[in-house]
Amino acid sequence: MSENPLLAPIHGITLEDYSAACAKIGSGLSEEEVAKALGVELPVWQEANLLWPERMKQDATYHIITLFGQYFGEADQHPKFLNLKPAVSAEGTGNIDKIKADKDFYQELEVARQVAYEYGLDGAQWIMDNYGIPVGDFQIAASKWSDQIHQDIQANYAGYNQQQDAYRTKYQQLFAAAQGGNLADDISF
């Protein structure tokens, strides 16, 4: 048991439980389903859901939020949620597995999501509509690949930027074309 009082469970809900629950809500489970999986009633879950973020706000070392990110990324392995999956299409299931197994696929969709926002679209919804990947699973993938991408940047900064630029150009063209072009496309030097 950790000696850090900020890590003490809230109503029996540990930080690992809480992080996995948040990931699963983001993947489409309801609060009721999550509460049931944790073995508590809704008011107990909602109070824990209120108080864990308070612990993060109080923690000047950012240790709690760092662990939250780590446990969030491991949500698929949490024993209380192993047999609980939201209804997802077959294509969605394939893409959810792919984004957690294929780093390049994740990186491309991350850029697509950002560019979608720049074109006035809800990027997270665009990913859901086009690939069937809910925001929770997307964030699990983000957490999973974070360290490796950081290492890639350190090893080959120019190569990383080149790949990002290529993805960016691809999706800028795609979203601009869907909107009839950019406003200043007709202006040239």
């Binding site: 008011p43 926002y117 720049e118």
Partner: protein, 276 residues
């Protein structure tokens, strides 16, 4: 013999190219600015209307429209940056490579002309950049602030109207909800003591999430006073932070204990940052 090294470098075509490139650069940026102006003028009233008419408490439709407009402005910035790289910087480098060394008198006129060209183009770019940032601010502020006080007052009224309209799931006895709750909460029946679960409305749940923003709106004048103080008056900051948390606690009294710990953290962070 030495007159060979003093021979004047003569390249009028380069001077003409410098003049022409500068003119094209100014015209190009002017066109982008005009397009930006046109876009902002048309979008600002639309943004305002969308914000006011959108019933979504998170104002997502407004947010997406704003993001799209800012994306277009960034496209224009990107376009200007690319043109600057290709047509100004590269041109200067290529032209300099053809000139006699800067240490010789020959070609001095051309080095000076290129320097003046680079400075003029750079100044014009900074003016463009300032205008671009001005338009970003205009668009971001077009809708103004959400009146969180009005939304909060409305939720209080709704709660007062419904608080005694609940009945026990076990005995049917009348239950009065003792205070405004923002999350699902157990409420005991005063007659049979059965534990009932009270589910707050979506609007009431939102009050919890907007409480800090509302407290900040209420105390914005205090933060402004601190920000305007020269040198920064730390007493004013502490007054603001205390008042903001007091207001926050008034809105969600059940969170006062947790909020106090957060208050201490923010105060400490502020003091540490001041010492850096």
């Amino acid at each position: 013999m030495f007159s060979l090294f003093q021979k004047k470098y003569n390249n009028p075509a380069l001077l003409e190219k410098i003049r022409e490139t500068q003119e094209r650069w100014f015209t190009f940026l002017g066109k982008l600015e005009a397009r930006m102006e046109e876009m902002s003028t048309a979008a600002i009233p639309e943004l305002r209307d969308l914000f006011n008419q959108d019933n979504d408490p998170y104002k997502r439709a407004h947010g997406h429209m704003l993001q799209g407009l800012l994306g277009q402005i960034n496209q224009m910035r990107h376009k200007a940056n690319e043109a600057r790289e290709e047509n100004i910087f590269c041109f200067v480098s290529a032209a300099e490579a053809t000139l006699p060394a800067i240490t010789s008198n020959a070609g001095q006129e051309y080095h000076n002309a290129l320097y003046a060209f680079r400075m003029a183009c750079s100044d014009r770019y900074h003016l463009f950049d300032e205008k671009l940032n001005h338009h970003i601010t205009l668009l971001q502020k077009a809708a103004g602030e959400q009146d969180l006080e009005a939304i909060y007052r409305e939720e209080l009224t709704i709660f007062e109207n419904i608080r005694d309209k609940f009945s026990c799931k076990q005995c049917g006895g009348n239950i009065t909800i003792p205070q405004m709750f923002f999350i699902a909460t157990y409420v005991n029946c005063p007659f049979c003591k059965t534990q009932n679960t009270f589910m707050p409305s979506t609007g009431a749940q939102l009050v919890l999430h907007q409480a800090r923003s509302l407290a900040e709106q209420r105390t914005a004048h205090l933060l402004h006073a601190y920000e305007e103080s020269v040198p920064k008056n730390e007493t004013l900051y502490k007054q603001y932070l205390r008042a903001m948390f007091d207001e926050w606690n008034k809105i969600v009294p059940d969170m006062a204990g947790e909020n106090e710990k957060f208050y201490q953290r923010l105060l400490n962070d502020h003091l540490i940052n001041k010492l850096k």
